[in-house]
Symmetry: C2
Subunit: 302 residues, 2 copies
C-alpha cells in the first residue's frame, strides 16, 4: 500500500450482487478491471459473469484472486460472515490487500474488522453509500469512507467510477457513522413529509397544488420533491426498502445508546417504521410510511 491502480494491474473482487452491488460491480467491469465475484445467490451474478467477471465459490476464494475486495451485503451478521468467517474474505487476503465494505453496517463492526485486518497487514475501509439503486446505476453515489486516509486516497480511481462524491470521514467506523447521520436526517424528514401531506389531505387541500407552494422554499427537501409525488399517487414501490431502513435506524439507535445520546425523533421514526413493517409493508419503499400514519388516524390512503 498504496497500490497503483489501473485496469491492467489491479485485480478486483466483489462480494454481493444484489440491486446495488450488481450495478456498482458492473461499472468496474466496464472500466476494464479484471473482477472475481461471489454472491449468495449465483443467479444474481450471472449478468456480471456474462460480461467477463470470474466466479468464485466463497468470499475467501474471491480474496485469493484480488488486490481489492469490495463487499455489499445485507445485515451486519452477513458482513461478519463474508469478511471474518472461515470462508470469509480476510482469510484469503494476501498481505497488502484492501477490503472495502460498502454495506450499511455497525461502526463497531467496522472497527473490529479493521483491527483483524491490520493484524494480517491488510487494510480495511468502511464505505457505505447513499443514493440508492438509481445512484448505483448512474455512478452518482455519495461514498462515506472510514479508514486510513492514504489508503482511501489511493483508491481514488475506483471511488470515481462508483460515485460522484467520496469523502474520507475519519478512521475505521467513520464511514458508518456518517451513514447513520444520513439516515437520521432521512428519518426525521420522512415523518415530516408524510404527516404534512396527511394534514393536507385531511384538510381538503389539493395535494399537487400544495406541492407548488411548499416544495421550493424553507420546507423543501429531496424527499419531498422526489417521494412526495409518489406518495400523492399512492405508488409505494421501493426505491429503498422499509426493512433495510429499519435495520439502519436500529444500528443508529444502538450506537446512540452506546454514546448516551438521546434521539427522540429517530426513536419515533423507527417505531413508526416498525409498525409499518408489522402491517406487512416491509418490502415497500420508505415513503410508504404514509400508510402507517394514515392508518393511525383511520384514513384510507389511495
Amino acid at each position: 500500500m498504496p497500490l497503483s491502480f489501473s485496469p491492467q494491474k489491479t485485480r478486483l473482487g466483489w462480494i454481493g450482487t444484489g440491486v446495488m452491488g450488481a450495478s456498482m460491480c458492473g461499472h468496474l467491469i466496464e472500466a476494464g478491471y479484471s473482477t472475481t465475484v461471489f454472491s449468495r445467490t449465483r443467479a444474481k451474478a450471472e449478468p456480471l459473469l456474462a460480461r467477463g467477471a470470474k466466479w468464485a465459490d466463497t468470499p475467501r476464494q474471491v480474496a485469493e484472486q484480488a488486490d481489492v475486495v469490495f463487499s455489499i451485503v445485507g445485515f451486519p451478521a452477513d458482513v461478519r460472515e463474508v469478511i471474518l468467517g472461515d470462508a470469509g474474505a480476510l482469510a484469503g487476503c494476501a498481505s497488502g490487500a484492501v477490503l472495502v465494505d460498502m454495506t450499511t453496517s455497525q461502526p463497531s463492526l467496522a472497527v473490529e474488522i479493521a483491527e483483524a485486518a491490520a493484524a494480517k497487514n491488510v487494510v480495511s475501509l468502511d464505505a457505505p453509500v447513499s443514493g440508492g439503486d438509481v445512484g448505483a446505476k448512474n455512478g452518482t453515489l455519495s461514498i462515506m469512507i472510514g479508514g486510513d486516509q492514504k489508503a482511501v486516497e489511493s483508491l481514488a480511481p475506483l471511488w470515481e467510477i462508483l460515485g460522484s462524491t467520496w469523502v474520507c470521514q475519519g478512521p475505521a467506523g467513520a464511514g458508518q457513522h456518517t451513514k447513520m447521520v444520513n439516515q437520521t436526517l432521512i428519518g426525521g424528514n420522512m415523518v415530516g413529509v408524510c404527516e404534512a401531506l396527511l394534514y393536507a389531505h385531511r384538510s381538503g387541500l389539493d395535494l399537487e397544488n400544495v406541492m407548488k407552494s411548499v416544495s421550493t422554499g424553507a420546507a423543501g427537501s429531496w424527499s419531498l420533491t422526489n417521494l412526495g409525488p409518489r406518495i400523492i399517487a399512492g405508488n409505494f414501490d421501493p426505491g429503498f426498502f422499509v426493512e433495510h431502513f429499519i435495520k439502519d435506524m436500529g444500528i443508529a439507535l444502538e450506537e446512540a445508546r452506546r454514546m448516551q445520546l438521546k434521539l427522540p425523533g429517530l426513536e419515533l421514526a423507527e417505531q413508526l417504521y416498525q409498525k409499518l413493517a408489522a402491517d406487512g409493508h416491509g418490502r415497500k419503499g420508505t415513503h410508504a410510511l404514509m400508510l402507517a400514519l394514515a392508518e393511525m388516524s383511520d384514513i384510507e390512503w389511495k
Copy 2:
C-alpha cells in the same frame, strides 16, 4: 370586485409593520401605490412614512382610506382585534373592498373573518407566506392563498410584487391550512437535522466534512443546507423566531385534533421547541433546537 389594479387607481392599506410587514409594504410603496399604514408601535412605521406612506391611528381608519387592506401581525388574537374589533379594519371597509390577512393564523378564524366580511360585501383572503425575512426583503415569498379564486386572481399585480410564488389553495382557510403543511414539514425536518448533527458531533466526526457527504443527496433539504452551517458555527441568531414557530405548530396541532388527525412527529417537535423556549431561547432562530437536544444528552453545544 374584481377591481382593476394600478398604482394610479388603487389605494392600499397596511396593518402591521414588523420585520416582515415593513419589507413587504415597502415593495408596494416602491411600486407606486398610495398606501396608508397602521402599526401598534408607530416608530416601526416611520421608515415607511418617510417614503410617502400615510399614517392612520386605527386599522379602521386604514380601511376607510383603502381599496385593499393587508394585515400581518403576531397572534390570532391580534388578527381578530385588527380585523374584527371595534376599531378593526372590517368596520372601516366600504362595500367591494378586499381584506388580505398575511399573518400565520387559525384556518377557522380565516373562515370566520371571510363570513363576517361577506355580510358587508367585503372579500376576505387568508394569505400567509413562507420565506422569512429574507424572502420578504427580496420579494421572493411563497404566498399561500385561501378565498374566492376570482378575487385572488384579480390581485395578481400585488402578489407579483410581494412574492415569487402565489397559489390559490382553495376557499377561505385553505391558505392557512397550506401554511400548516409547510410548518409541519419544517418541524419534522428540523428534528432530523439537529439530531443528525448531534450524532455526528458525539461520534467524533468533522461536521463540515459530514455536510459534504450528506447535504446533496437523499438526506438533503433547505434546512440542512441553509441552517446546518449556522448550527455548526453555533450561530443561533433568528431567521425565524422559536416563539413564532411554537405558535404555528400549536395552531397546526389544534387543527389536527379538530380533524381527528394524529401527528406524532409534529407533537414531538412542538414539545422539544416548548422545552427550548422554557430554557429561555424563544427569541433565537428555529435551528436553536440543537440546544434543547444537546442539553437532553448533557452535551454543551459550542
